[in-house]
């Protein structure tokens, strides 16, 4: 009994994907199709994981305007990238791209998230607002450290970091893509089994606990899941701060429901749809390269301001 709105979203996404694959297919068809397939898979993975991660984060923070990037997740990623290049030099860093690079980045992201949030959770008395404040402070710290490291760098290393700092949908790393998809499949499995308890967790810590939910353990697990999903999205294309916010706002206004069984697939589909449709329009219609990220950030940032002004902070 799939929801009708989800089916419509799925059909739209399939249409957008087909358009992306087959529009203007000329020359060596097999080769171009393969390139486009890899790109499509990356777009789907990034859109879906950004959407799902943001919905999950808004559930455990009981706040509709926060995104994982506010907690400093992508700033941590940038620091990691810069640190890698600074530590190993340009040549060394380019050698560990691909699967080992992705594995390393994801592991460090997960480890950092675990260390940060277990210590934060026990110290801030499970107060999510204090935690978010700490996240903002950490984000600033990560960014400052990143800037500091970049000052110390050689120009050749700096250009390499620059290339990784901005979201780009060309030049997808295939082995990282496979690893990301595997990680997402694991996350999806967990969510299929546990989406109901998330509905209760969205009530807040106290009500959820008095309904018998072991909230603290659940919150920690969800934070790890968010860290994993954010690393998939950021490792593949770089930081996209406002995509998640755009996606969750659309998912909420479309589904009008608290149920994660509806919200999570809707967010995944909408995220993927925005990226695939946007990329198709930009590449095939406007013949532009790598400007989609800018447009998404612009629209998302505008939405963020509108939500702030209209006072929809909750």
């Amino acid at each position: 009994m799939a929801d009708r709105r989800l089916i419509v979203l799925g059909c739209l996404l399939a249409a957008a994907a087909a358009l992306f694959l087959f529009w203007g297919l000329r020359g060596p068809t097999a080769y171009i199709l393969e390139l486009r397939l890899v790109k499509l898979a990356a777009l789907l993975a990034v859109g879906a994981s950004a959407g799902v991660a943001t919905v999950l984060f808004q559930t455990i923070s009981q706040n509709r305007i926060l995104t994982p990037s506010i907690m400093g997740f992508d700033a941590l990623f940038l620091l990691l990238q810069t640190g890698l290049v600074a530590g190993l030099g340009a040549a060394g860093a380019s050698r560990i791209s691909g699967l080992p690079g992705f594995a390393l980045e994801t592991t460090v992201m997960l480890g950092a998230a675990l260390v940060l949030f277990t210590s934060l959770l026990s110290r801030t008395r499970h107060d999510i607002q204090l935690m978010v404040l700490a996240g903002v402070v950490l984000g600033v710290m990560f960014r400052t450290l990143t800037a500091f490291l970049q000052r110390l760098m050689e120009p050749s290393e700096f250009t390499m970091v620059e290339a990784r700092m901005f979201a780009q949908f060309s030049g997808i790393d295939r082995s990282a893509l496979m690893a990301g998809l595997g990680l997402m499949a694991l996350a999806a499995l967990w969510l299929v089994r546990h989406h109901r308890v998330l509905d209760v967790a969205a009530l807040g810590r106290t009500p959820a606990r008095s309904l018998g939910v072991a909230y603290d353990g659940l919150q920690l697990r969800v934070l790890c899941l968010i860290a994993a999903l954010v690393s998939v999205a950021t490792a593949l294309v770089g930081p996209l701060a406002f995509l998640g916010l755009l996606v969750t706002s659309l998912a909420h206004s479309l589904m009008q429901s608290h149920r994660h069984a509806l919200l999570l697939p809707a967010a995944a589909l909408i995220g993927a749809l925005i990226l695939v449709a946007g990329q198709t329009v930009f590449e095939r219609l406007l013949h532009l390269q790598s400007t989609l990220a800018v447009v998404i950030e612009f629209c998302g940032g505008l939405l963020f301001l509108v939500l702030l002004v209209r006072g929809k902070i909750r």
Binding site: T59, Q62, D199, V200, L203, T206, P207, S210, G212, S257
Partner: protein, 252 residues
């Protein structure tokens, strides 16, 4: 019975609760009364296990509350907090349905739907059940949360200042329903109330707190006397009888 012994909470130099021992009878309505800052809500939250005591023990029908597993507790007692807000867009009917979580883990069966319908009916939410929580008034939202706790179908029901947002009609109905639940279904009800008249006329038992300690406790008829209440609140309280009803007169 809830058996509280030697309970303390807060820093040792400046405790919020200090060596509190009390017995709250099963199947009765018990009111926690006392002036502001006496520790009523703290005591209720400790019983509800929303906070961990610094010392002492609480046993509910022989079950040690400090050790108990959340999932077991959720079938034993339901709690209605004082400040109720929900970020996600939840409909009233779905909120009441959350009360069935301890029994169904989110997969609602026929028995669960019957319990939800019963709770909706009992707390006068029939016309509101398709509305979103953020579209309701404070009192309506409060009733929705109380209905959720009722749907939880527990032996004990804990309510922190449930009358705060309610108008005369709904406040009176709520107290009548709580009494009915205690008498007909044998549920133990513990409420924090500020209005002495509601406490005296609807509850069986009172536990009076002052400065984090038990001032007095016992059945209403014995415990709530003019001298004790005046001393408790440090203001003159007169007890009068009118047409068979007991009134606390303190407002002028």
């Amino acid at each position: 019975m809830i058996d509280i012994s030697g309970l303390s909470y807060g820093p040792a130099a400046n405790p919020i609760l200090q060596n509190v021992s009390a017995e709250i009878p099963a199947g009765r309505v018990t009111a926690l009364i006392g002036p502001n800052g006496a520790g009523k809500s703290t005591l209720l939250k400790l019983i509800a296990r929303q906070m961990t005591p610094a010392g002492g023990s609480i046993r509910m029908d022989g079950l040690d509350l400090v050790q108990a597993v959340p999932a077991v507790l959720a079938r034993k007692m339901a709690v209605v907090a004082q400040h109720l807000s929900v970020a996600s867009r939840v409909r009233v009917r779905d909120l009441v349905g959350f009360g069935r979580w301890p029994h169904s883990a989110g997969r609602l069966g026929p028995a669960d739907h019957a319990a939800i319908a019963n709770a909706v009916e009992l707390f006068d939410l029939g016309g509101l059940q398709e509305r979103f929580l953020d579209e309701l008034s404070g009192g309506q939202r409060q009733r929705a949360f109380i209905a959720m706790a009722y749907a939880q179908d527990t032996d004990w029901l804990l309510l922190d200042e449930p009358l705060n947002n309610l108008d005369l009609n709904h406040a009176r109905n709520l107290m009548a329903q709580l009494r009915h639940l205690a008498e007909a279904q044998g549920k133990g009800i513990v409420i924090v109330v500020h209005d002495l008249n509601y406490a005296i006329s609807w509850s069986d038992h009172v536990v009076a707190l002052r400065d984090g300690q038990v001032a007095f406790q016992g059945p209403v008829a014995e415990a709530a006397t003019a001298e004790r209440l005046s001393a408790l609140y440090q203001t003159p309280v007169a007890i009068t009888r009118l047409e068979g009803q007991v009134f606390a007169q303190y407002h002028r």
